[in-house]
């Protein structure tokens, strides 16, 4: 059974008047995706293609207008609630600073998953230090507030929090697009290492090729709310068929090949 199945999902947001009839904005149209356990799926699309909507649907923050999202075979939002999903799937946002409460010290933010779930033992400072070290953060930063950390440190903290409840699947919505090339490299290295250590599955959402090429084995191209091309990452990138994919590959400069993890 696949870990994640997105079945013919459409999402229509109500029109500006917010009331009946009159179209509305189609954010996603008939999108289907599958991800096996331990696999990694890249989703590339331009701004407004529906990437973030898709991420919200997968984690259950939004409900699809049509179609279903299944996690381990159970329908998200029907057979499993948001609270039950906490230990199965987590989302890493593009804006790491925005996904940490500005009034909460890093240590408290990292302990929050355990507090919420009533796992007091695991939220103790020693355990939090361990979590921070695992993602390459100095435990001394636990006493800092988010705005006192750099962009790279923030993204590491957010990744640590997302992994706290040991989900099987991590959705990364442009996890490094706000970072410079060196930091992006480091985050890619971190995600690769965590995959090796924890057997994580990833969905990596991006607007360019760089990160997806390195982290994923499957790739779907999202264009104006529809999947226009999908397949093994290498195959899609080396032989793009849809005009948008061709343009994308022609226009994006390559990241330098990796030096060290």
């Amino acid at each position: 059974m696949p870990l994640l199945e997105v079945e013919n999902v459409s999402k229509i947001f109500p029109g500006r008047s917010g009331s009946r009839g009159a179209g509305g904005n189609v954010a996603l149209h008939n999108v289907s995706l599958t991800l096996e356990k331990g696999g990694s799926l890249g989703i590339i699309g331009e701004s407004g293609a529906g990437k973030t909507t898709l991420a919200s649907l997968i984690v259950g923050l939004e409900q699809p207008s049509q179609g279903k999202v299944r996690l381990d075979g159970a329908v998200v939002g029907e057979q499993i609630t948001l609270a039950e999903m906490a230990g199965r799937v987590q989302l890493v946002w593009q804006d790491a600073a925005g996904s940490l409460d500005p009034r909460m010290r890093i240590g408290a933010a990292l302990a929050e998953p355990f507090r919420i779930q009533g796992m007091m033992e695991r939220g103790r400072p020693e355990a939090i230090s361990g979590m921070m070290e695992e993602v390459g953060l100095s435990p001394a930063l636990a006493r800092r507030y988010p705005h006192e950390l750099s962009g790279g440190e923030l993204q590491r903290a957010v990744i640590a929090r997302a992994l706290a409840l040991e989900p099987a699947l991590l959705i990364c919505d442009e996890p490094a697009s706000a970072l410079d090339a060196r930091l992006k490299r480091q985050i890619i290295g971190l995600l690769e290492r965590l995959r090796g250590e924890r057997g994580l599955s990833y969905v990596i959402i991006a607007h360019d090729v760089g990160m997806v090429r390195e982290l994923t084995s499957e790739l779907a191209i999202l264009y104006r709310g529809e999947v226009v091309e999908a397949g093994p990452t290498d195959a899609v990138l080396s032989g793009p068929r849809h005009p948008y994919t061709q343009e994308l590959i022609a226009s994006v400069p390559r990241l330098p090949r990796r030096q060290a993890g």
Partner: protein, 299 residues
């Protein structure tokens, strides 16, 4: 006298990441406005608190052999038309002023946060109902509304307190609701939801602390407004009744005597001005101290 929303843009609330406690104190040091306002407010509050212990003369005891004495050794601020010690009366009146100002504002704050929070979370039906109600209240100047209430329920300190609170809460409800609407869409709120947090927990750990910041400014402003409103109501005879002292009432009683005994006008007038000023300055300083963009520059 209307304290609803008349806040200069430069003092307006701001939001964003916060500094550590140490950072706030670092910011406060060397800021003369807040030191002045803080010392002033603290002095006034301590005085009001300690009045019963101070070696003052009875503020109510008339002495018709000693009326309208100029400030001097026996009476530092002179005596009034009934020969009562003006200093004692001004200081005793500070208790009424602060009590009404702080508690009416406190009640309004709690009510406003409750209404604003409910509206912010209420969705399609509750939100519009609560907000239109708020707008109706907001359209009354506090002092006019309070006059109406006092005309119905009678004068006196307790009624003044309720009358002011009754018309001071809408600004808190409006400000808090708009902040709640903005904060609840932040990604850190969604992140908490994804971690399995209940809506209750999300509200108290994330939404309330992050949405409440701007309320500090409005609270300080509202205290100043309530103090002025109390003085105004006492001035027109709807507040504290003679022979008890209140700044507004003392002003009213001595207006006609300004040429013979100007200290009787100046003392309560200055008292009410300085007290409300100290709260307005505190509000402005608190806003600046809490504005993180003022401090670390951000991203």
């Amino acid at each position: 006298m209307d304290n609803s929303g008349q806040i200069p843009a430069a003092w307006g609330p701001a939001s964003g990441p916060e500094l550590s406690d140490a950072g706030i104190w670092r910011h406060l040091r060397g800021n003369s406005t807040i030191i002045f306002a803080g010392v002033l407010a603290l002095t006034i509050a301590l005085t009001a608190l300690l009045v019963p212990l101070l070696p003052l003369q009875d503020p109510l005891l008339p002495d018709y052999t000693n009326v309208l004495q100029a400030p001097g050794a026996g009476h530092l601020l002179g005596t009034d038309l009934h020969g009562r010690d003006e200093l004692s009366r001004v200081l005793w009146a500070s208790r009424t002023s602060l009590l009404v100002g702080l508690f009416a504002t406190g009640l309004a704050l709690v009510a406003g946060v409750a209404v604003g929070g409910l509206a912010g979370y209420g969705g399609r039906y509750i939100d519009p109902v609560l907000m239109r109600t708020t707008d109706i209240f907001l359209s009354f100047p506090v002092i006019l509304g309070a006059i109406a209430i006092l005309a119905i329920f009678g004068t006196g300190r307790r009624n003044v307190f309720f009358a002011i609170a009754f018309f001071a809460w809408p600004i808190f409800a409006r400000v808090f609701r708009s902040r709640v609407l903005s904060v609840r869409e932040r990604e850190y709120v969604k992140a908490a939801r994804l971690l399995g947090a209940s809506e209750r927990r999300i509200f108290f750990t994330h939404v309330l602390p992050n949405a409440a910041g701007p309320l500090i400014t409005y609270t300080a402003m509202a205290v100043a407004g309530a103090i002025l409103a109390e003085a105004g109501l006492s001035f027109i005879g709807l507040g504290v009744q003679p022979p008890y002292p209140a700044w507004g009432l003392m002003l009213a009683e001595s207006m006609g005597l300004f040429e013979r005994a100007p200290w009787l006008v100046l003392a309560p007038g200055l008292a009410v001005t300085l007290t409300s000023l100290s709260f307005i300055l505190l509000g402005a300083a608190a806003t600046r101290a809490m504005d993180p963009r003022d401090r670390s520059g951000g991203r």
